[in-house]
């Protein structure tokens, strides 16, 4: 099929790129402690991108048999686009096509799901709390990316997801885990953590409004970073006047101990692959190097347009199937230390992190599963409260970073201790 599409496109376009995706998934959902739903999903996707007279067009379909319609729609779409600086799709490189996120034991079989859910439930019994819902899913997927410059790469991968929601009185606990590797997922621990948050979060005390030392868990931190830092690093946003980081290359944007890196080959990654969403060989990109802003993320289109070096940061998400700028494994590094020393507010999650202002970085969001930690222990639950501040200023307020990290989608995040965060209490 790929050859057919490329040869049909050759007559009408200057360049053509094809992404063919398939996935086979099985999942089961818990309602309370019982499995209420079993699901199976088989899906395919075809995304065609064409370049004609320096105009880019794209279309996608979930039925690859309809490739002719899809190709026509992509060509039609290119006629409406403005011309752009374009220096060509990548050619074939000698890339190691070893599978980096594939576990051959992971197959869409109900027995594996049953086992995962049994272990999840067992773990949840560590502390007294009720399961409200939970889930386990197994996905095996693959993609082929090819273009008219002779490039063709193929890969496949696996993914296991588990999640559980629990409640004790009016205290909720939500935990989840994801990995491509069956050995790296630990349902007992996930269940135990959810039960801990629900059980130990009961009878929380009110906080007084004021300025506090606060530790954000990897989950809470990733939500804030995703809301404002990630969009601000996108080359497209930088060059179109939508980024806080515009014009700040070479300046200090965080505490000097902190670095923010995209390492596509970090072994903790969920879907490592040697090429990005446009078939460019991936590389390590250091956005913030010991406090100094050093580079932005680019896909080919944006790099060509603004005469920047491509950073192989293209990802495929969104409805149109077009490549967009993202990251692979975004890692926050810094001075490791005992971040829960003395007394500190520990925030497991946030309610409403997506409502942060992506331009200015200002946020005021509700706390989820907050505790007062004393000398490393979750000592006392907090009933509720909001934290507010500015995400870009937070980068300067980093006091310490945990050694332990968590992989959350395309981020690998530690827990981080911040000084002087405003907390609006109910007291």
């Amino acid at each position: 099929m790929i050859d057919k599409i490329l040869s049909a496109a050759e007559k009408e376009t200057d360049e053509c790129e094809i992404l063919l995706i398939n996935s086979d998934a099985i999942s089961a959902e818990l309602k309370k402690e019982a499995i209420a739903i079993g699901s199976r999903s088989e899906a395919q996707g075809l995304i065609i991108r064409v370049i004609k007279d320096k105009k880019i067009g794209v279309s996608c379909t979930d039925n690859p048999e309809l490739w002719k319609n899809c190709l026509k729609a992509a060509i039609d779409s290119s006629t409406f686009a403005n011309t752009t600086e374009w220096k060509g799709l990548p050619g074939q490189e000698k890339l190691d096509q070893k599978l980096l996120s594939f576990d051959n034991r992971i197959k869409p079989e109900p027995e594996i799901l049953n086992k995962l859910l049994e272990r999840l439930i067992a773990g949840s019994r560590t502390f007294q709390a009720d399961i409200t819902s939970g889930s386990a899913s197994i996905i095996s997927s693959g993609h082929i990316i090819a273009n008219s410059n002779g490039m063709m790469y193929e890969t496949k991968g696996t993914l296991v997801n588990i999640g559980i929601e629990m409640i004790a009185g009016q205290s909720t606990g939500y935990e989840f885990d994801t990995s491509w590797n069956l050995d790296m997922i630990n349902p007992e621990i996930t269940g135990e953590k959810a039960a801990f948050l629900a059980n130990k979060g009961q009878n929380g005390k009110d906080l007084k409004t004021g300025s506090y030392e606060v530790v954000l868990s990897p989950v809470a931190l990733s939500e804030l970073i995703g809301a404002a830092i990630v969009p601000a690093l996108s080359g497209r946003n930088v060059h179109t006047g939508r980024s806080f980081f515009s014009g700040k290359i070479g300046t200090e944007v965080s505490d000097p101990s902190v670095s923010l890196i995209d390492d596509p080959y970090d072994s903790r990654g969920l879907a490592n692959c040697a090429w990005d969403g446009e078939g460019m060989p991936v590389q390590e990109n250091c956005f913030i190097d010991n406090g100094t802003l050093t580079t932005f993320a680019y896909d080919l289109r944006t790099a060509y347009r603004y005469d920047q070096k491509p950073t192989a940061s293209a990802v495929r998400s969104g409805q149109s199937g077009a490549p967009s700028i993202g990251n692979h494994n975004l890692i926050l590094k810094g001075k490791n230390g005992e971040i829960l020393d003395d007394e500190v507010i520990f925030v497991h999650n946030l309610i409403g992190a997506h409502t942060a202002n992506p331009m200015s970085g200002d946020f005021s969001v509700e706390l989820s599963s907050p505790f007062i930690a004393r000398d490393g222990e979750m000592d006392e639950p907090i009933k509720s409260g909001m934290i507010s501040g500015n995400i870009f200023e937070l980068l300067h307020q980093i006091e310490g970073i945990s050694e332990e990290t968590r992989t959350l989608g395309s981020m690998i995040m530690p827990s981080v201790r911040f000084s002087g965060l405003s907390v609006i209490g109910r007291g």
């Binding site: 309602k31 309370k32 019982a34 499995i35 209420a36 739903i37 079993g38 699901s39 199976r40 999903s41 088989e42 899906a43 395919q44 880019i56 794209v58 279309s59 379909t61 979930d62 039925n63 899809c70 729609a73 992509a74 039609d76 779409s77 409406f80 686009a81 403005n82 799901l113 049953n114 819902s133 929601e165 409640i167 909720t172 004021g210 300025s211 497209r236 179109t240 006047g241 939508r242 806080f244 409805q319 149109s320 309610i351 409403g352 997506h354 409502t355 202002n357 200015s360 946020f363 005021s364 969001v365 509700e366 509720s384 909001m386 507010s388 501040g389 500015n390 405003s422 609006i424 109910r426």
Partner: protein, 444 residues
């Protein structure tokens, strides 16, 4: 493996999505994509078996028996017995569109959006983005009881973002409108200009001060309040799972006697459902009447277990199993005028526009963010504030509504739950809230 089939339904959605992206006046993208997705649900001996495939697989056979068998086999993993209620069935007609967007060429749409782009230009505006989204869907539904429905629905709309910058600070103004009534991008320059003007004004606004205070919510934000603080917690699946604070509270007084909250999927607004995604007829459900919790929102399954409410609230994205969802959720008009509310407030904050919100229904705590606001001093609006949010506890805050306006409007948007995003509207008249918890970047 042989699993019995107590019920099945099949929903196929064939769609075309058109997107246009104008970035600082450049056409970054303008084109269409296609999808055809089907989902087959079977209620087996115990629970549900669900199979999601490409819609084409249904073409060969009127009743796709092999897929029903496959879904039944998928249900074999379940170990809890699920029952469903037989619900009234029927379909509302889809209202005709004033101008079908599919009849308007991509070229003309692009040129109309260019007019909006021009309207966002201005001093201090450093970035402009206009996005258009049109989704035309044909939905085909059938179930084992012999119900068959089919309808076409086209949703379209646009968003305008303008960024203003001066002296090192940058602020954003955002406006959007989505509809089922046909093309809505003609003569909308006023809305585009509003986004730009707001972005510039926000440069001079001060950060809001956090703490407890009196608050007035505009219709858009008060609609989000109804959605986050009440709508989600009244969803039957959360009640059934035990993860809603409103569990067991039917017929209890949970809010001000001024308060009536409704979810009505039959209203032909952006959240319109001609029939829900498991074939139940849709109608108005009064969640709160006179401050008393009256009804939950239900699917066939949650109605059977929980009762106390209406079916017709079960929705799913194409190719994904339907779950209990809101559609058009609103607070009903009271009798106070806007001026009376601001005057009564005397001192507090007026919150306007929405940047979204979230709720933990089990804990009963919600948060949402306004795009901007104004301080109210001596019963009059004074200076503008930015980045102001509101959070609260569901069971407290509803009692704190002391005035309900009479200017209810519905605002289109999208709601996410369980990984699925569906079109909704939220609406309300102006609301006056005592003792609200306001979040802002400034504290005493």
């Amino acid at each position: 493996m042989s699993v019995s089939v107590r019920y099945y339904d099949i929903r196929r959605v064939i769609g075309e999505v058109t997107q246009i992206d104008l970035d600082n006046g450049r056409i970054e993208q303008a084109g269409s994509s296609f999808f055809d997705k089907a989902i087959i649900r079977v209620l087996g001996d115990n629970g549900w078996g669900v199979v999601s495939v490409t819609g084409e697989e249904l073409d060969t056979d009127h009743i796709p028996s092999s897929l029903i068998t496959k879904a039944a086999e998928t249900s074999a993993i379940t170990n809890t017995h699920i029952n469903i209620e037989i619900t009234p069935s029927g379909i509302h007609p889809v209202p005709p569109m004033k101008e079908d967007p599919r009849d308007v060429s991509l070229e003309e749409k692009v040129s109309l959006l260019m007019e909006l782009d021009t309207a966002t230009k201005g001093q201090d505006i450093v970035s402009r983005r206009i996005q258009y989204l049109e989704k035309a869907e044909k939905v085909i539904f059938s179930d084992s009881s012999g119900h068959e429905y089919s309808y076409n629905l086209c949703r379209c709309g646009f968003s305008v973002m303008a960024v203003a910058s001066r002296g090192g600070t940058a602020q954003m103004g955002y406006e959007r409108d989505h509809t089922i009534n046909g093309l809505n991008i003609r003569h909308r320059q006023d809305l585009a200009t509003e986004a730009a003007v707001r972005a510039v004004k926000l440069l001079d606004a001060s950060p809001a001060k956090g703490g407890r205070m009196q608050a007035v919510l505009d219709p858009e934000l008060a609609g989000v309040f109804a959605h986050e603080a009440v709508g989600h917690a009244s969803e039957g699946d959360l009640i059934k799972e035990g993860s809603s604070i409103l569990k067991g509270k039917i017929n209890e007084n949970i809010g001000s006697p001024l308060l009536y909250i409704v979810d009505d999927p039959s209203i032909p607004a952006f959240g319109f459902c001609p029939v829900d995604d498991e074939g139940s007829a849709t109608k108005r459900t009064e969640i709160i009447s006179k401050g008393v919790l009256s009804n939950y929102l239900h699917s066939k399954e949650t109605l059977s277990t929980i009762g106390n409410g209406d079916p017709g609230h079960c929705r799913g994205m194409p190719g994904v199993e339907p779950i209990v969802r809101m559609s058009n959720t609103f607070i009903q008009n009271g009798d106070a005028s806007y001026d009376e509310i601001i005057d009564e407030c005397r001192s507090g904050i007026l919150l306007k526009g929405s940047r979204g919100g979230q709720v933990d229904p089990g804990r009963g705590i919600f948060q949402f963010n306004a795009e901007y606001g104004y301080l109210i001093e001596n019963g009059e609006l004074s200076s503008m504030v930015r980045d102001v949010s509101l959070s609260g506890e569901i069971l407290d805050v509803l009692h704190n509504i002391s005035m309900v306006g009479k200017d209810c409007t519905l605002h289109p948007g999208y709601c996410g739950k369980g990984g699925q995003t569906v079109p909704v509207t939220d609406g309300s008249p102006h609301l006056f809230l005592n003792n609200a918890i306001i979040g802002g970047c400034d504290i005493d």
